[in-house]
Amino acid sequence: MLIPVLVGVAFVIFLLLYLTPGDPARIILGTQATPETVRALRTEMGLDDPFVAQFGRYLYNVFLRGDLGRTYVTRAPVTREIMAAFPQTLKLAFWSILLLTVVGVPVGIISAIKQYSLLDNTVMLLAMIATAMPVFWLGLLLILFFSVHLGWFPSSGFDTPMSMVLPCVAVAMPSMAVVVRMTRSSMLEVIKQDYIKMARAKGQKESVIIRRHALLNALIPIITIIGLQFGVALGGAVLTESVFSIHGVGRLMVDGIKMRDYPLVQGGVMYTAFAFSVVNLFVDILYAYADPRIKAQYRRAGRRKMVTIRK
């Protein structure tokens, strides 16, 4: 699944940038360049070749040589630029996903157990507000309140633990709202099931019923949604990174777009698609651990494959 998705993404992004007006050669050389030098560079870069040839060359470079080209602005390899920005993005993604899981899932569970209570209603209202809030606005508010007003956290950078708090909160908040709602509805669905009644009829404690019988069954949608959020976060929190001036992948892509640095944008999108696909693959594997029925399916599919290969 990984390869077709990446080829598809490559095609779309390549086509879009191909159709965008503006001459890369002119961007690289600046406004002072003579038409001759521009023409020479166009030929050198292969910009006069037909679309199919250009796209084919791009695919060849990306998939067979792992080369995303060089940026127009710094002439550095795009892969190096991305790898330089990646640790920041990964750090941000990891901590914010950890934060939203550790807070979001328990809150969702409690909300489900106490359905329609004051607590549940408050949580749902807050979740709605958090989903509706634009990230950059939340980021700015956090900076205004916690850095400028209270002076508790630095307003930019991403090196010390203290400086990581605000960006992680900003990234986690809207996703956390989604996770809370998903956990709640998934738990509500499971709590209604007969096997929960059965567990009660066994004389089991309510806390054990929630942890052992209900949560295990409610996990699949929760894993899915957290996986999705992780994929999105790995793609770079474009707005948050800009607000907090973090040099992550999102920021890199924004800069690339501003400068019309096509290889950088293309590379960034390819990287995002790749990160997303890899996360999805891991989520699929996690499913099997959460649900024996899915594991059995995988096993059957595996066996069938073995049979066809043997033929």
Binding site: D194, Y195, A201, G203, Q204, H213, L216, N217, A290, P292
Partner: protein, 324 residues
Amino acid sequence: MEEALLDIQDLVIHYEKRNGAVRAVEGLNLRLKRGETLGFVGETGAGKTTTALGIMRLLPVPPGRVVSGKILFNGENLLDKGEEEMRSIRGGKIAMIFQDPMTSLNPVITIDEQIAEMIALHSGLSHRDSISRALEMLELVGIRRERAGDYPHQFSGGMKQRVVIAIALACSPELLIADEPTTALDVTIQAQVLGLMKDLRRQFSTSLLLVTHDLGIVAESCDDTAIMYAGRIVEYAPTAELFGNPLHPYTRGLFNSIPKITGGKGDLMTIPGLTPDPSNLPPGCPFHPRCGLAVPECSSGIRAPLEAGEGHYSACPVTLGGRR
């Protein structure tokens, strides 16, 4: 009179909704003697499951609420028990089997663990001992030990119900409440499961409250039978007596509704009308709007069941030969 294992007195259970109460159980009286099987028969919505959940104290509260009455188990009122004490009774002394075996087992836990959970809760055995006891239970219900580590989705419906029975009887409860245990199964599997329940019940000397709407099952396996209608017991008698001499018009209607193999291909007999809406019960005898024998007095006042013979009670004075 010897003390009954289970003695329900004037039980009233309502579901409280915004627009009034749904009167699911209205003054129910029921006795189950130790070691016996009581068939508990009624149409869908008559309040059978509500009663069963009420005994287990597993009613969803709210909206469910036990308004009044007593549920005496070994002479002690279950409604006075604290949650902690109730937990040790559930599973340990009173076990319950639910209607649908397909959904009664937790899909992500292996079946030996699900049986062992019950054993560990009530016997204080270690996890390992609970598992080995669970394996014995599995063999008892006719499932090979090798399958103990399997998940519920790897079993057929009949086998799942066997597992459920193994769980229910794992701690040798004094009372087993089976809520339509065979309704979701094929007829052939039904017979197997019922036979298994009968054998094990004897082996563990467990009394059985069999909730069902299938009169055939009742005739087959119950000592006594109680007929429930709109939250009340309308007739209660030893099974043979009830089948030979049904007194209440509703009971008679039920028997007439069973197609007879010798009866030709005419229309099925039915009881006219529908069971009353439990949030809007008719005054007087709840059955009188559908009853062919109703007299004007039927629409006022509720009468306690009258004794019509040895252990045979009926709530209908009309068919008792005018003994009002």
